[in-house]
């Protein structure tokens, strides 16, 4: 026996079995205690409650939702809202961050000063504080009756921002956006891909025009199809009684989250973009100038593409991290995934099942996001001999 303990392979195997077995035992112990505790309180477990109707309303939903709808549907509403908030905030944060990053490497001292101040302020304050701050400002705007009036079509009030919109269903707007993304990708592919390099420039221009015309036609058809019957096409908000009617309302909760996450994320992305530009060797830009390219051409054709490739892996982590921070919406009452789950827990009482759904949902969303972005990274990263520095 002592000789057995001295063999390395036996000790290794024992350690592995002990580690994994210990973890499994811990999980088993938790499950058993949970079962006895639940039975003591007379609660049933299982996912049957998902079919029950909720009996409560949500304040913001992209799809139709009513009190008689099921828990399954309310969770779906939450996931869609989270994705919606994430998509808008991440795009705005990227635009803002790129602008700040470019300002900080522009060589103009005044622009650098602004960029640095912005980053130092917004990166060093907690996101939650910023959400509370914007929410307090938005809800202290004047009442609807005294709302700030922008050219009679848009209004800023404490109930939210009212903007003109179209009387069409959300679904057709969604499909319009999808076709727009498809057309844009197609256009980008034809413009940049290697196999189209031999094509004559005139034909390329013709094809890209056709693509855009096609999108326009598709959009018109989709909007006409999705039009709400017996209403004018444009929907302009107007004051009726104590509140506004028609138009698109952006609630203070949603807007506070969007502003805070974009501004906070913009500060982080700005730093990443700056690091990307600093990673591009100076000689690359100088070589561009030596070839007679203008400042703008050197920037858009040489420095920017190289910088994007240099920072994409860091940026992917940042996106996943920022998406996780959308859970902050619960602090001001925005109906996101986490909000829906925590309300369901207090209403239906199925704590363990709902937490499992929450965890599973975030794992799936974040792994998918990281996977898609990593594929993009693989597709555009520098390959082979280009990698020389």
């Amino acid at each position: 026996m002592p000789s057995l303990l001295k063999t390395k392979s036996f000790r290794d195997n024992a350690a592995q079995v002990g580690f994994v077995g210990g973890l499994i035992l811990l999980v088993l112990l938790f499950t058993l205690t949970a079962r006895t505790n639940l039975e003591a309180q007379g609660l049933t477990s299982g996912f049957g409650f998902l079919e029950r109707s909720t009996g409560w309303r949500v304040s913001f939903s992209l799809i139709e939702f009513d009190t008689s709808d099921t828990y399954m549907k309310v969770i779906w509403v939450g996931i869609l809202n989270s994705l919606f908030l994430g998509a808008i905030s991440l795009s705005l944060a990227t635009i803002l961050g790129t602008a700040i990053g470019v300002m900080r490497v522009s060589g103009n001292k005044m622009a650098e000063l602004i960029g640095t101040t912005y980053v130092e302020i917004f990166r060093n304050l907690p996101l939650l504080l910023q959400v509370f701050f914007w929410y307090a400002i938005l809800t202290s705007l004047p009442q609807p009756r005294e709302a700030v009036n922008i050219a009679e079509v848009a209004f800023l009030s404490s109930r939210g921002i009212y903007m003109p919109g179209l009387n069409v269903t959300g679904l057709s707007v969604f499909f319009c956006a999808i076709t727009l993304i498809c057309c844009f990708s197609l256009w980008l592919w034809i413009k940049t891909a290697r196999q189209f390099r031999a094509m004559a420039p005139e034909r390329k221009i013709l094809i890209s025009r056709l693509i855009w015309l096609g999108w326009l036609a598709a959009a018109v058809i989709l909007l006409a199809y999705g039009r709400v019957p017996e209403t004018p096409l444009a929907s302009i908000p107007y004051l009726r009684g104590l509140n506004f009617r028609d138009g698109i309302r952006i609630s203070p909760e949603l807007l506070a989250c969007i502003i805070a996450i974009s501004v906070y994320g913009g500060a982080y992305i700005g730093e990443i973009v700056r690091a990307g530009f600093n990673a591009v060797p100076k000689g690359q830009g100088e070589a561009g100038h030596a070839l007679g390219l203008s400042n703008w051409q050197t920037f858009t054709r040489i420095r920017l593409p190289l910088a994007i490739r240099a920072v994409l892996p860091t940026l992917i982590n940042q996106y996943v991290w920022l998406f996780k921070s959308t859970t902050i919406g619960i602090a001001v009452g925005f109906v996101d995934f986490f909000f829906v789950i925590s309300t369901s827990i207090s209403q239906a009482g199925q704590t363990l099942e709902l937490i499992a759904i929450l965890m599973g949902g975030f794992l799936v969303i974040n792994y998918t996001l990281a996977w898609v972005l990593n594929r993009v990274n693989d597709a555009i990263k520098l390959k082979g001999t280009q990698l020389r520095t």
Binding site: D12, A15, Q16, F19, V20, L23, L29, F30, T31, T33, A34, N37, L38, S106, G107, N108, K109, M110, A111, L113, I114, E120, I121, N124, L125, P126, L127, L128, L129, F132, F133, A136, I137, S140, N295, V320, K324, S325, T327, I328, I330, A331, F338, S342, I345, T351, L352, I355, L358, M359, F362, L363, N366, Y367, A370
Partner: protein, 356 residues
């Protein structure tokens, strides 16, 4: 002999920095106007037209165009100490100062030894706990639910870091273990926890753990949330430490093996010190993020400095003064976070000198 150039004069330097070409000059003018406008308005609002003391509070708010710092004058004790009993707030202040002092002392290189640091932090936490909790030495007892304000924020941060750092080291060592089952299981756990939002982890620990823990274990909500946060921190920090270890050349460990050092000797004398040096910038960054995200305990229902800020303007006397209160709370966070990141920059310079 090296060629020497004449140093450019101030005017030339200004011209190169701000007006090197037309575009540059236009940018300077536009951004310069913006900066002057913002600074002018901020000065006017925050200092020139501001109301400073609560005696003049009638001048505040209603139509006034300056900041109403009177709210801070009136409510600063609520913001800093939360719901802690009013007569006992000196204890909260001293406890806070004790932890901050320990934190500052452990930034001094003279204290960078395992035993010294451990002794320092155990003393600091003991002082903090005795003062905050009371019940001994004639101090009245205050329950954990009444802890609040800045001292709660600092407690959560310090406890998370102290629990999380050793856990992170263990996680990192398990993750790079030669035994496939151990490293893969650990990798799975780390990756899963990293892809979850911190808020959901805190929530799970506060809500679910009382269900699944055997009843003989203590289930104080604050401690559960801190443990959950520490686990989350450890998973991020473990990846950072692992990155630092990977940057070490394999020869270091092989040389230690050749000298006959045992596993623990290799890890504690050769690998970890160098790994920490390599991983210093991301570690400081992680600490900064951790400090900021302690604010999330508000959502779980604790009364830390941000929540007490909400309460400070949440009554009819001061309900217009949200910007002032959030600026004050923001300033508190900013001071901590900014000094932490400046310290990180100092350490980087210091270590760069050491390796040169």
């Amino acid at each position: 002999m090296a060629k020497t150039y004449a140093k450019p004069g101030i005017l030339e330097q200004l011209r190169a920095d701000y007006f090197s070409n037309k575009l540059d000059a236009a940018m300077t003018l536009v951004f310069g106007t913006l900066v002057i406008w913002v600074v002018w308005n901020l000065l006017g609002w925050g200092i020139i037209h501001a109301v400073w003391t609560q005696e003049n509070r009638e001048m505040c708010g209603h139509g006034g165009d300056g900041a109403c710092w009177a709210v801070i004058d009136a409510r600063w004790r609520l913001i800093l100490f939360g719901l802690y009993p009013f007569e006992e707030q000196w204890r909260s202040a001293i406890a806070c100062i004790a932890i901050i002092t320990v934190g500052i002392l452990s930034c001094v290189p003279a204290f960078w030894h395992g035993k010294k640091l451990a002794a320092l932090w155990i003393t600091g936490f003991a002082i903090y706990y005795v003062l905050m909790r009371g019940g001994v030495f004639g101090l009245s007892e205050v329950s954990v639910q009444d802890w609040g304000g800045l001292s709660l924020t600092i407690f959560v941060f310090a406890a998370v870091t102290l629990l999380g750092m050793p856990t992170a080291i263990i996680f990192a060592l398990l993750r790079r273990s030669d035994l496939p089952w151990i490293s893969r299981t650990m990798g799975l756990i780390i990756d899963s926890i990293r892809s979850l939002p911190l808020l959901s982890i805190m929530f799970t620990f506060a809500v679910v753990l009382p269900f699944v823990l055997p009843s003989w274990l203590p289930t104080e909500k604050l401690y559960l949330v801190v443990i959950g946060y520490a686990l989350f921190f450890a998973c991020y920090q473990a990846e950072i430490i692992r990155g630092g270890m990977q940057a070490l050349s394999a020869g270091q460990e092989e040389a230690a093996k050749a000298l006959g050092m045992s596993y623990w000797q290799r890890i504690s004398y050769i690998v970890l010190p160098q790994a920490f040096r390599n991983a210093l910038p991301p570690t400081i960054n992680q600490l900064v993020i951790t400090f900021k995200e302690t604010s999330l305990v508000v959502i779980i229902g604790f009364f830390e400095v941000l929540a007490s800020g909400n309460a400070a303007y949440g009554n009819s006397d001061w309900n217009f003064a949200h910007i002032e209160v959030y600026s004050f709370v923001g300033l508190i966070y900013f001071i901590f976070v900014f000094s932490l990141s400046r310290y990180g920059a100092y350490l980087e310079r210091r270590l760069a000198v050491a390796t040169r």
